[in-house]
């Protein structure tokens, strides 16, 4: 579904074709390459400036550093890690993201299995409600939940953000998994039931192993969503427990306190991008599948 288009094999290839349309000329390549450069420049600029000495970055553009003499340094990174709490924030981001990824996947998998392979009255209506909840803006839930957390005495804790992210991530998780599990072959589950397998056995032995692609896509999607989140952490951890804040909130704080465009900010921002970039390059295929699977049903 997401694999690159393969050249269409022909017995006598007179015209070389790639993909659905005929290959274009030099104009096409120029446009595509210009687009690639435009899209890459902002990130490359930040990366280069983050490894330049402060004075250099302040007095000349990042593009001048591409040419010799080279003066690259990691002192900005050292400074950020020593002088600010970025190291702690990085750890906090991890502590927030991993449980907030794992918990909703389990909860959603159970619900998705029930929606896919169990008969009960109101099944369709209930799933329509889930589809409706997909688009609820978080903003419409913040104040009552904040009061709830304050009442329970967990405002500012990791538990609060885990719970919130689980709730917010569930509609998409249930939707994606139900669409995938529902498209598994019916015969598999029927013959398992005839052989006397309980729904629990069928779930763990059949449904889960067969749904690994969807589960992987969902895990990456939810992880990136939570890792990159600003609003949820800002509201529920916010000023209550500054020592629990994730990277996004502290970097946004750095922008307002020291202003944009300093070399330290670039280093901090790049540290926050490190994990998403690794996930992106290693697991891009699954990430794409999560996005495509959530929007258009195959």
């Amino acid at each position: 579904m997401t694999a690159a288009a393969t050249p269409i094999a022909e017995a006598r290839p007179r015209v070389r074709r790639f993909g659905r349309l005929r290959s274009g000329g030099i104009g096409l390549h120029t446009v595509v390459i210009v687009l690639m450069v435009i899209w890459a420049v902002p990130t490359v600029g930040l990366l280069i400036n983050s490894v330049r000495p402060g004075q250099e970055a302040a007095s000349s553009g990042w593009w001048t550093a591409i040419f010799p003499p080279y003066q690259f340094t990691f002192e900005n990174y050292a400074h950020v890690l020593e002088q600010s709490n970025i190291g702690t924030n990085f750890l906090n981001s991890l502590i927030i993201s991993i449980p907030a990824t794992v918990i909703p996947i389990f909860v959603a998998a159970f619900a998705a299995y029930a929606f896919s392979w169990m008969e009960f009255p109101g099944r369709n209506v209930l799933f329509v409600v889930v589809v409706g909840l997909l688009v609820v803006p978080l903003q419409a839930t913040l104040i009552p939940i904040l009061k709830l957390f304050a009442g329970w005495g967990i405002a500012g804790t990791f538990l609060a953000v885990w719970l919130a992210h689980t709730g917010y991530g569930l509609p998409f998780a249930i939707y994606l998994l139900r669409n995938f599990m529902g498209s598994l072959p019916r015969e598999v589950f029927e013959s398992a039931a005839i052989d006397g397998a309980s729904p629990v056995t069928a779930f763990f032995r059949l449904a889960i192993p067969m749904s690994v692609p969807a589960l992987a896509a969902l895990a990456i999607f939810q992880f990136l969503f939570v890792w990159n989140d600003l609003l949820v952490a800002l509201i529920y951890i916010g000023a209550v427990r500054p020592d629990n804040l994730p990277l996004t909130v502290s970097i946004a704080g750095l922008v307002t306190s020291i202003g944009g465009g300093t070399e330290f900010l670039g280093a901090a921002a790049f540290l926050s991008m490190l994990l998403p970039l690794i996930v992106f390059f290693a697991l891009q295929r699954y990430f794409v599948r999560g996005i495509v699977g959530g929007s258009v049903k195959g």
Binding site: A5, F18, R20, L21, R22, S23, G24, L28, H29, V32, M36, W39, A40, T43, L46, S59, W62, L91, P99, V102, F106, V107, A108, A111, E119, F120, V128, V130, L133, V135, V136, P137, Q139, A140, T141, L142, I143, P144, I145, T166, P171, V200, F203, L224, N228, L230, L231, G238, T248, A252, V255, T256, A269, L277, F281, Q284, I291, S295, V296, K297
Partner: protein
């Protein structure tokens, strides 16, 4: 420090263990019920954790927000539509609303348009995978990081000084003076600069979905058109584009929601100052800077009302898909 790592490990291992034990336990509990009742009870037990969390974190607070929007700040008195009266009478709120309309129109237009163009163009080159990765990458990073990246792009130094911002250096190379991009309020230039950042991030989203739909088009259909003498533009206009319209609608509705909820970029890059505010940031400010919970709730309800039509549109689309299934 160790304490929080231990908590996280307990959460990662303990919570799933409890959930698995719960599902296994339901089967044991069901044993005491007569055979006929089991299939009727079982689905509810499987869905209970999800339904509980959805109810607690989405349904209940939504109702709570609607109620709070009709009350005073402390929630002690009913004030009718007073908070909404404030919203539609406040210049700041109306300016934020106007900006959200700009976001909605242009972010949707840009991401769907660029997404379509890029998907169709890269389909015809051999380095398609590499090209798509480059366009898609910004979607993996946070909007805060994207905000920082673009603060470098938009950086402004007074005329005469060396321009270290990429955009002003480019403008300078063309012989024009530096422009303080995020401060120009005429024609909402600064808001457009923020929309461009989001376009940079979200074009990849449109691209991958449109590209997946493009790959699903039967090549024989296109070949038939070519045999009939259609040129590449006519093949695109007459065959590919009509087949892609449903996909463009899907991407468009997602982008409309993204535009309505826009917050991170504005919060990070301008803080909503200089007429760049949007409703999500307005709500945040009413909540935490001013402590006006009633007004903040009214802002959230306005946002919710704007999204309701899309909610019903999506449900209708889902039902149509299910009918085909």
């Amino acid at each position: 420090m160790e304490e929080r790592i231990i908590t996280a490990i307990i959460a990662v291992i303990g919570v799933p263990a409890v959930l698995v034990a719960y599902i296994w336990g339901t089967e044991q509990v069901l044993r005491i019920f007569p055979e006929g009742l089991k299939p009727r009870l079982r689905p509810w037990l499987w869905m209970a954790p999800a339904l509980g969390l959805l109810g607690l974190f989405l349904v209940y607070p939504m109702v709570g927000t609607i109620i709070a929007s009709l009350q005073n700040t402390t929630g002690t008195e009913w004030v009718g539509l007073e908070n909404f009266g404030w919203f539609f009478g406040s210049n700041d709120a109306l300016s934020a609303l106007k900006n959200n309309v700009l976001w909605l129109i242009f972010l949707t237009l840009f991401t769907v348009g660029f997404g379509l163009i890029v998907a169709v163009l890269v389909d015809r080159v051999r380095y398609e995978t590499a090209a798509k990765s480059v366009i898609f990458l910004p979607l993996a990073i946070s909007m805060v990081a994207a905000g920082v990246i673009w603060l470098y792009m938009y950086q402004y130094k007074p005329p005469g000084a060396v321009q270290t911002g990429t955009l002003n250096a480019a403008v300078g190379a063309l012989g024009a003076g530096p422009i303080p991009w995020l401060q120009v309020q005429d024609f909402s230039v600064n808001t457009f600069m923020l929309i461009i950042v989001m376009t940079w991030m979200w074009t990849g989203f449109g691209m991958v979905i449109i590209s997946a739909a493009l790959k699903g088009i039967n090549p024989e259909l296109l070949e038939a058109g070519r045999v009939d003498g259609a040129n590449e533009w006519q093949v695109f206009r007459g065959i590919i584009f009509p087949l892609l319209v449903p996909t463009l609608v899907v991407v468009g509705t997602t982008m409309i929601i993204t535009a309505l909820k826009a917050f991170d970029i504005v919060y990070t890059m301008t803080g909503g100052n200089l007429e760049t505010d949007v409703i999500a940031n307005l709500m945040y400010k009413q909540m935490f800077r001013v402590g006006e919970f009633g007004r903040a709730s009214a802002v959230a309800v306005v946002l919710l009302l704007a999204i309701v039509p899309i909610m019903f549109f999506n449900i209708g689309r889902f039902r149509a898909q299910e009918a085909v299934r």
